[in-house]
């Protein structure tokens, strides 16, 4: 009976579950809240599964479409749909939400219901971002998802959480407002429509395209984040609880990159071509500059946060190669980074829960006490360094391959991440995991428990499966990406 409204379920089931969890109230009912949250997240993932099983890889058209009038006065619709670009991201988000609920099981003892509810509601809102085909609907979800995230950092965060949350807020607000202005302009240009797919065909002059390009670039670039609007991310990560970092890295950053594919490229193709050099330059700076900055971080979370920025540089670089290999490479990199960064932040969480420090210097010789953990951590570190047969390799490989025919030197600069990525990740690993037991605190650390093995093991399977057999994923994307690129190749100048 819900066959026609899968996307609605994917959005509203987690949100409803969140509201129910919230209703359990104070921490006296913490156990109930946890189990309800687990049930909600599981159900959230379950209702998303039909998206994958029922997906038609042969078409680039929107699937699972739902459309109803929402605010007829402004021609605003409750309009949902998924294609090969958004469907994998919805699944990734629903999957990561379940992981986050499990990850917070024992660690969060304070305001449990609120914590769990925040993640569930955010999950639904993010699914809304990926599924929305109406500009205003997109905007509401896009802004709405920030509220729970902002609270997660601001309430369960570290000592400097307010500064971090505020910095995050400031950055994102700036871009969003400009984006809203652009959307309203598009509404008038398209003859009174907020339909994103209609916008894809709306003719626009070069000046308008350029102005809107910058406003969208700011809105989405902050989320990705692109250099130089990236400095909120390391701070937010450092202050956020483990679950917050996981969602932030695995999902929130993808929202920004998704915006490039849904808005910037198809709506502003001429400006995109004209200003591709800018995005390429910023992406390559992210890869090199941020890679070097990551090298000198003393705080593990900051290090992985910077590493995320460098990895996201590959995503935006791939998009602006304007070929299928690059665009799909960027998308693959997004999904892979979802797994790998989630896993790495969970690993740091595992260590933090035991030693209450994220400083590299406080560790050393972990492998002596936590061999199972060390093995998982090694796998994810190698995936972060882009080792073949892990998911981390696939996207970077595709983007480098895509860049060579465009300009050899783009590929040259991007490929330096082969060296820097390995350097910052494995150097950290060496200092934290290898060596003799560094101090009495490490001596007391116990290896990971069954719950942690379940979490890391699940992600390990994902990382390896995607590295060994990425074909199913690229098959899903291919038709939509080819259609998108055909669209981008056509000028929209009136």
């Amino acid at each position: 009976m819900f066959g026609q409204s899968i996307l609605s379920l994917v959005i509203w089931v987690p949100i409803l579950a969140g509201v129910i969890v919230l209703a359990t109230g104070s921490d006296r009912n913490a156990a109930l809240a946890r189990w309800l949250a687990l049930a909600g997240a599981t159900l959230g993932l379950a209702v998303a599964i039909p998206l994958a099983t029922g997906f038609d890889t042969g078409t680039s058209a929107m699937q699972f479409v739902e459309k109803a009038a929402w605010i007829p006065a402004f021609n605003i619709h409750y309009h949902l749909g998924a294609d090969g670009i958004s469907m994998p991201l919805i699944l990734l988000n629903s999957f990561v939400t379940l992981l986050v609920v499990i990850a917070g099981w024992q660690v969060i003892q304070d305001k449990v219901a609120q914590y769990m509810a925040a993640f569930l509601i955010m999950s639904g809102l993010i699914n809304g971002v990926f599924a929305a085909l109406d500009g205003i609907l997109f905007y509401v979800f896009f802004e709405g998802m920030l509220i729970p995230l902002y609270l997660i950092v601001g309430v369960w965060g570290g000592p400097n959480r307010v500064y971090a949350a505020f910095k995050f807020f400031l950055y994102t607000l700036l871009g969003s407002l400009l984006m809203l202005v652009s959307m309203i302009y598009l509404y008038f240009q398209s003859g009174g429509s907020f339909d994103i797919q209609t916008w894809h065909g709306t003719p626009l002059g070069m000046t308008a395209q350029t102005l809107m390009f910058f406003s969208f670039l700011l809105a989405f670039g902050v989320k990705v984040p692109m250099w130089p609007v990236h400095t909120w991310l390391p701070d937010a990560h450092v202050e956020a609880p483990t679950g917050g970092s996981v969602v932030l890295a695995a999902i929130t950053l993808k929202v920004g990159a998704y915006g490039f594919l849904r808005f910037i490229l198809p709506i502003l193709p001429d400006a995109s071509h004209e200003l591709a050099w800018l995005v390429i330059a910023l992406s390559l700076i992210a890869v090199v500059y941020i890679g070097l900055v990551a090298l000198v971080q003393a705080d593990m979370k900051k290090l992985i946060a910077y590493s995320s920025i460098a990895h996201m540089g590959f995503v935006t670089l791939g998009f602006f190669m304007f070929n299928p290999l690059g665009a799909e490479g960027g998308l693959v990199q997004m999904v892979s980074h979802g797994f790998v960064s989630a896993a790495l932040f969970l690993c740091i969480g595992v260590m933090y829960d035991r030693l209450h420090s994220r400083q590299i210097k406080d560790y050393g010789g972990l492998v002596n006490k936590m061999p199972v953990f060390a093995a998982f951590f090694m796998l994810f570190a190698m995936a972060n360094a882009g080792l073949p047969a892990t998911s981390g390799f696939v996207g970077e490989f595709m983007v480098v391959m895509a860049a060579i025919p465009v300009d050899f030197w783009y590929a040259f600069i991007a490929a330096t991440s082969l060296i820097t990525g390995a350097a910052y990740t494995l150097w950290m690993y060496k200092r934290v995991v290898f060596g003799a037991v560094a101090n009495p605190h490490v001596e007391e650390m116990s290896d990971i428990n069954a719950r942690e093995i379940l979490l890391l093991g699940t992600l390990a399977v994902c990382v390896l499966a995607m590295g060994l057999y990425p074909k199913p994923l690229t098959d899903v994307m291919h038709a939509s990406v080819v259609n998108l690129l055909a669209h981008v190749a056509q000028s929209k100048l009136p």
Binding site: I71, I147, V162, T231, L292, I404, F408, F434, A436, K471
Partner: protein
């Protein structure tokens, strides 16, 4: 029948993988015996299957096919597949045979190590990765295997993870290899961009039509496409096969347990670069510039790394520098278009160098993990099997006529001599001079270990030479009377001694001058090396006899003679020389200061640059100027929020969100 062969192809790599999984993931469950039975069983199955495949290839059956499709994008296909021809089949035999020997040897060498199962898991995983590398039929899988062997090498160099020098060495090895891989992947990218495929057969077939293509790397500079591809791919080989200037990781890799030094850092993984270039012969034959580059790099490595072996005191490091030098020889052969000679030397070297390493390991066991040859001596009478096999290995290495190394090395020297490429003169001089150097350092070590005074009772005092010795994790033992090692150690030594003696004599004719390699290796007519070698070859026996009248033989004899004189008769002379030639000596002991240079330029430089970008760029400019331009605003805001932190602000926020939704909807409906 053919279907059965395909199953067999799968067995070759998957059997060791299965062994690795059992020993690695179920190590506790199956115990030490279970782990080594599983691992050795897997490699044995792989070896036997390789023998059958080899016979099948000899019977004229080659195979090129897909195992599964990794990824497709429209017409573009990336696949995992096998190419089984003579080159592959030979590599499969070498890899599985040496691996099997090392597996057996490990039972003895790692007997007391708590990481026993883990070690077996790693070396089986290595065998799997190496086999995937050599059996690949495309560049992508080649890169997979390439990086996978690098990973296992990393894990094994750092096997004793509490040892600071080991975990430094493994990071260094991985990063230096990544520099090579950086070039490698760009080379692969150019192949994909210009050939539209990563499949060997497709690329090789199309190569001649692109032979004259050029690309402009920067405005006004037009490079031959094949030259750029060739050099970039070769940069990968320089990392993996430790060619100058990316050689720095290999000596340090000796921090790992000795069995892997034999398997990975002598016999197999480090020869991956040589194999790769030989496999790509249809591409390299199209660019004399790339070949010239390869030859010069190989010549530098062959000679200058050999020099370093002359001053080392750590038994494993002497063999390591010898390996570097021999890899240089193979590279020179590649540059001279004598691919089959390079692969031939790869094979003979795999046997005698694995033998030398395992023998060194046997000595190390007897010396209770003291690796300093200044504290050995006279071991001949205590360890007869280790002694005789070491002697065989050393004689094979220096190119004693009729032993395996002779045939391959002599052919390399000849090939360099007849090459017309720029740099060939230097290469010829380097490989010729290298013969003397090789003989000198090999027998210096041999005499210091097995002959002369027994110095192992002296303990580990500091001699007059700087201490470059590194002890194993068990520390320095005090040895009273050394013993021969158990059969699991000596057995592999004997099994490797046989091919070290005879494989060259037996196989030179089919491998170099017959049609063993068939179409697997391509040589253009304008490159004369193989043709000239063929003209001069009149049988293996004749070649051995003729050698007595040639320069290399007497250079080798002089090297052995001089080291005997220095280290058996007049040990005061090398000490005096070291003092007299202080600068030269310090330069050699410090390995031309490459480690210092790299650590200063790259390790320190990158951290300095990263730190500057972070503090100046991120913190001062972006945050300091743009973000915190309103720092006090933030502060005020935070005070405000603190005041609100009475409890459940998020309730309000959620309510607000839902409220906005509802209101907007309702309001709009009214309109």
């Amino acid at each position: 029948m053919r279907v059965d062969m395909q199953t067999l192809y799968l067995v070759v790599p998957l059997a060791p993988l299965l062994g690795a999984i059992v020993a690695g993931l179920f190590g506790k469950l199956v115990g030490r015996t279970g782990a080594h039975v599983a691992a050795i069983g897997g490699v044995t199955a792989s070896f036997l299957a390789s023998v059958l495949v080899f016979q099948d290839v000899l019977a004229g059956h080659t195979f090129n096919g897909t195992v599964y499709t990794w990824m497709t994008l429209g017409d573009l296909r990336f696949e995992v597949g096998f190419l089984v021809d003579a080159l592959t089949a030979m590599m499969m035999l070498v890899v599985t045979f040496v691996s099997l020997m090392v597996h057996v040897y490990t039972i003895g060498y790692m007997h007391d190590d708590p990481g026993y199962q883990r070690f077996f898991s790693y070396i089986s995983l290595f065998t799997f990765s190496m086999l995937m590398l050599v059996m690949s039929n495309n560049f992508l899988q080649l890169f997979f295997g390439w990086e996978a062997v690098g990973l296992v090498s990393y894990l094994l160099i750092g096997f004793w993870y509490t040892k600071e020098s080991a975990i430094y060495a493994n990071l260094k090895a991985f990063l230096v290899n990544r520099v090579g891989d950086f070039g490698f992947i760009l080379g692969i990218g150019l192949v994909l961009a210009h050939f539209g495929s990563l499949d060997y057969a497709t690329v090789f077939a199309k190569a001649p039509s692109l032979a004259d293509d050029t690309i402009a790397l920067w405005p006004g500079a037009s490079w031959g496409l094949m030259t750029v591809i060739g050099i970039l791919l070769f940069i990968g080989a320089m990392g993996k096969s430790a060619q100058f200037p990316l050689h720095v990781w290999l000596p340090d890799s000796m921090e790992g347990p000795t069995p892997i030094s034999a398997l990975i850092h002598a016999a197999t993984m480090v020869t991956a670069g040589i194999f790769m270039v030989a496999r790509m012969s249809p591409l390299y034959e199209l660019s004399d510039a790339a070949l010239s580059f390869i030859m010069v790099i190989g010549a530098i490595t062959a000679l200058f790394m050999g020099f370093l072996g002359m001053v080392q005191n750590d038994i494993k490091r002497v063999v390591a520098y010898s390996t570097l030098s021999q890899l240089g020889y193979m590279t020179v052969a590649l540059g001279a278009s004598a691919y089959s000679v390079a692969v031939f030397h790869l094979m003979t070297h795999a046997f005698f160098k694995a033998l030398l390493f395992l023998a060194a390991g046997s000595v190390i066991i007897a010396m209770h993990h003291n690796q300093d040859i200044r504290y050995m001596g006279g071991l001949k009478k205590y360890m007869p099997i280790t002694w005789i096999t070491s002697l065989i290995g050393s004689l094979a290495l220096i190119g004693t006529p009729f032993l395996s190394g002779f045939y391959s090395k002599e052919s390399i020297i000849e090939a360099a001599k007849v090459s017309h490429l720029p740099g060939a003169g230097f290469a010829y001089f380097a490989v010729l001079a290298g013969v003397f150097v090789t003989a000198f350092y090999s027998f210096r070590m041999y005499f210091l270990v097995f002959h002369g005074k027994e110095r192992f009772r002296q303990g580990h005092a500091h001699g007059n030479e700087p201490d470059t010795g590194h002890a194993g994790p068990h520390g320095h033992g005090h040895v009273e009377t050394p013993h021969e090692t158990p059969w699991v150690v000596t057995g592999p030594l004997l099994a490797l001694a046989l091919p070290s003696l005879a494989i060259g004599y037996m196989t030179i004719e089919p491998m170099l001058f017959g049609d063993f390699f068939g179409s697997a290796i391509y040589v253009a007519d304008r490159h004369p090396a193989m043709h000239e070698l063929d003209q001069e070859f009149h049988g293996a026996m004749e070649m051995g006899l003729h050698a007595l009248t040639t320069l290399p033989f007497w250079l080798a004899a002089a090297g052995v003679g001089l080291s005997a004189f220095f280290y058996l008769k007049r040990p005061d002379i090398p000490a005096a020389l070291a003092q007299r030639l202080g600068f030269v000596y310090r330069m050699l002991v410090n390995k031309y200061w490459f480690d210092e240079l790299y650590s200063w330029m790259f390790a320190k430089g990158a951290r300095l640059l990263g730190g500057t970008l972070w503090r100046r760029g991120d913190q001062n400019v972006i945050d300091g100027f743009f973000v915190n331009g309103s720092a006090h605003v933030v502060e005020r805001f935070s005070r405000l929020v603190k005041a609100f932190q009475s409890g459940y602000i998020y309730h309000y926020a959620f309510a607000m969100l839902i409220g906005v939704f509802a209101l907007v909807t309702w309001f709009a409906r009214l309109n």
